[in-house]
């Protein structure tokens, strides 16, 4: 007996909302990265769930590409956080409020 698709969607919505709450609340740039990752993975859960729902593998393959894109995003994000730490002696995103300093 397969799990009905609604449960996957509820899990995905919960993960997405946890990520959204993290982005709205946290001030550390590393926590921002983790929250964005949560939201991306919520989308991945949806892809896989609907691939199973329609019996079509396209969603699963696309979720792999989303993971690769998330890895690229994190690589650039951690580079930006390094620069942030050097210039502001911290990774508080509310301190870096201007484009130039």
């Amino acid at each position: 007996m397969a799990i009905v698709t609604e449960y996957y969607l509820l899990l995905s919505a919960a993960v997405f909302c946890i990520g959204l709450y993290g982005i709205l609340t946290r001030e550390s740039a590393l926590m921002f990265l983790m929250s964005v990752e949560l939201m991306l993975n919520a989308a991945n859960i949806n892809f896989v769930a609907f691939a199973f729902y329609w019996g079509n593998l396209t969603g699963q393959v696309f979720s792999l590409f989303t993971m690769a894109l998330a890895a690229a995003e994190v690589a650039v994000g951690i580079g930006i956080i390094l620069v942030l730490y050097r210039n502001f002696d911290g990774i508080d995103v509310t301190e870096a409020a201007t484009m130039r300093w």
């Binding site: 509820l10 919505a13 919960a14 997405f16 946290r26 019996g55 593998l57 690229a72 690589a75």
Partner: protein, 141 residues
């Protein structure tokens, strides 16, 4: 003092209510959507079919796995994007004033002047010792 992670208590709970409201709306929509039972994939290796789809070998994908599209162009695009991200991360992480030095930075990204102070102190001791040696040499003469 240990620096274990602690539960953040100074957070804004209004944002939490907003996120919970979004979850409530999404959950209502999902539960009342009236989705049918999932079709599933049937027999056959899903991992093998994913590999075939990723390299445009869609003829080899069995019928139970649906009309899967080819993803070779997306695969190559993601490869280029990952390469560019690696270059970008290295470019961002490299110090500007180091002049392309390849030595490992083990100072945790501290400001450079603090690191220089440590170096000056160590070299200062060395010059003192050499100075003392020259002084004693002069005394002998």
């Amino acid at each position: 003092m240990t620096t274990r992670p602690r539960l953040a208590t100074d957070v804004n709970y209004v944002n939490g209510i907003a996120a919970l409201a979004l979850f409530a709306v999404l959950a209502y929509v999902f539960v009342t959507a009236g989705l049918e039972p999932p079709r599933g994939f049937g027999e056959g290796s899903i991992v093998a079919s994913i590999g075939y789809a990723m390299f445009d070998l869609v003829d080899l994908v069995p019928e139970e796995h649906g009309n899967t599209e080819g993803f070779l162009v997306a695969f190559l695009t993601i490869a280029v994007v990952l390469d560019a991200a690696l270059d970008g991360a290295v470019m961002l992480a490299r110090r500007d004033d180091e002049g392309g030095s390849t030595e490992a930075a083990t100072d945790g990204g501290q400001p450079l002047d603090e690191v220089d102070d440590v170096d000056d102190a160590s070299t200062g001791v060395a010059t003192d010792e050499s100075g003392a040696e020259t002084a004693t040499a002069g005394g002998d003469a």
